[in-house]
């Protein structure tokens, strides 16, 4: 119960801290809108007017992913810069309970992107927000945020040891949203990308949201997304315990 309390309080306070950063919020709002605009024009050019809502949702999910990806790398780097990384790692808790609220909080901040692209689609392009399964859409969105937060934890376990974690984050952003089919269907991608897509929680999260938007079996995708994420969480928790010890040996918790 106390662990759950720590997760909830930690997530809320980290989300509050991130939400007060003009830089974080601007990035979370502007980039997805630009991507959504490009997507709308591409879909219109391809004569797929009926998929404009998917474009808005897809761009929003890209925003959530970017927020989690850079959040996991950047937030830990931020903790280093603020001098808080040592203070939080010094707590008598499992490292997973300390870092998971940060990565989930970056997912929560990512939902600003999803909300913005939907609002942008409605106001600017008159896209009607008619979801095939509205309740399932909300559930899938929440699961997607939490799942990506858990996936972010696995990334964070790697980032703790790297002083320049942003370099790795930069190389992962576009390939993952492309392979996960957030905007472009994965069926049009080369066959060798399919196994990669299958193991990424982003693929199933994006698929669940797409199915909730345009119709389809939402719950299996939600379940697979959650299953893979829980596996990532377990792997991340083990990895984090290991890397925390290595960080103490290599003296990489502080800046100097």
């Amino acid at each position: 119960m106390r662990s759950l309390r720590l997760l909830v309080v930690g997530t809320l306070l980290h989300a509050k801290h991130l939400s007060r950063s003009p830089f974080e919020v601007t990035i979370a709002l502007v980039v997805p809108v630009v991507q959504a605009t490009l997507a709308v024009y591409l879909f219109r050019a391809g004569g797929e007017q009926h998929r404009l809502l998917e474009a808005a949702v897809g761009a929003g999910v890209m925003g959530v992913w970017s927020s989690v990806l850079f959040g996991s790398g950047g937030a830990i780097q931020d903790q280093r810069w603020q001098g808080t990384l040592e203070m939080i790692m010094l707590a008598p808790r499992r490292p997973v309970l300390i870092i998971l609220p940060i990565t989930i909080a970056t997912g929560v901040v990512g939902t600003y992107a999803l909300l913005t692209t939907l609002l942008w689609g409605r106001l600017l392009y008159g896209i009607r927000l008619e979801f095939a399964h509205p309740v399932a859409f909300v559930v899938a969105a929440v699961v997607c945020v939490v799942a990506l937060g858990m996936f972010g934890l696995l990334l964070a376990a790697t980032f703790v040891l790297m002083r320049n974690a942003n370099a790795l984050a930069n190389t992962l952003e576009y390939p993952v949203w492309l392979v996960s089919g957030m905007l472009v269907p994965i069926t049009v991608l080369p066959a060798w990308t399919a196994p990669i897509a299958a193991v990424l929680p982003t693929t199933w999260g994006a698929r669940a949201l797409r199915e909730a938007t345009s119709g389809g079996p939402v719950w299996p995708s939600v379940a697979v997304c959650l299953g893979i994420s829980v596996l990532c969480l377990a792997l991340g928790a083990v990895a984090l315990t290991h890397v925390e010890r290595r960080a103490r040996a290599a003296a990489t918790l502080a800046l100097a």
Partner: protein
Amino acid sequence: MGSEYAIEAEDLRRTYRARTGWLRPRRTEVEAVRGVSFTVGRGELFGLLGPNGAGKTTTIKLLNTLLIPTSGMARVCGHDVEKETREVRRRIGYVFGGDRGLYDRLSALDNLRYFAELYGVAPRDQKRRIAELLDLVGLAGREGERVEGYSRGMRQRLHIARGLLHAPDVLFLDEPSIGVDPVAARELRRTVADLASTGTTVLLTTHYMAEADELCDRIAVIADGQIQALGTPAELRRRADGRRVVEVEAYGVPESAVDAVRDLPGVRETAVEARGALQLLTVHSDAHVDVQSDVLRELAGIRLGRVDSREPTLEDAYVAIVSAS
């Protein structure tokens, strides 16, 4: 309670290894702590004094589990810092000086709420504990403001409140008064003294001799990664017994003049400290030799300010110990 000591360090060593360059990587090794051994009794206020880069912070981080020793052993409240990390962390608080280490865009209250959760303060006790600590550090009434608007002194007080949330048995204070104004530093010293009087063991590192002298039961002087002297402030002060100190304020003392002073008969150490436009030349000599006139002769032709001859202080003892290392 387990061990009779709050802190035990036995031949602690820590080497930092770094690699630079991609094509031709160069490995460098720095031995920051080289065989440090000491014990701190329960409820004792113990000072670790030393120049920059002496190994003070590394020693603290070895003891508070942030770093793993390269070799040697350390225990806090009887628990091994390497193998029983969580047991140690439950019993310690860590406060360091400077601006960093807080969530600036959150209020002091949010910072304390978060760290109370992290450090396992029972939910039913949190509100009362936070209120007590805000009162103790004089931030009551300002807790709703964002930390980014706080002065350095206020941040430092918030650091202390954070470090005390879970009522630790042992408190590590790493240069807590750095950059804090004299009034705030005096309040800080009072808070630390109060803590020690209520039974909290405190390990304090500081540059400020007066602070160490006023607060500490015992002091270890560390330089070059090793303990050079250990004792009560009075015992350390005796290290400078048999000495006399001449201080000369001067403007533009050339290196050759300092060398000439250093070579004078009876002179043990000389140090030059730049203080804006003037330099303060401190000359330690044997007590029975009056070197003042000889020093002034060597400085002939140089513009001088105040000249003073006095008994040695703890600071002089510290300089003598560090210079001898």
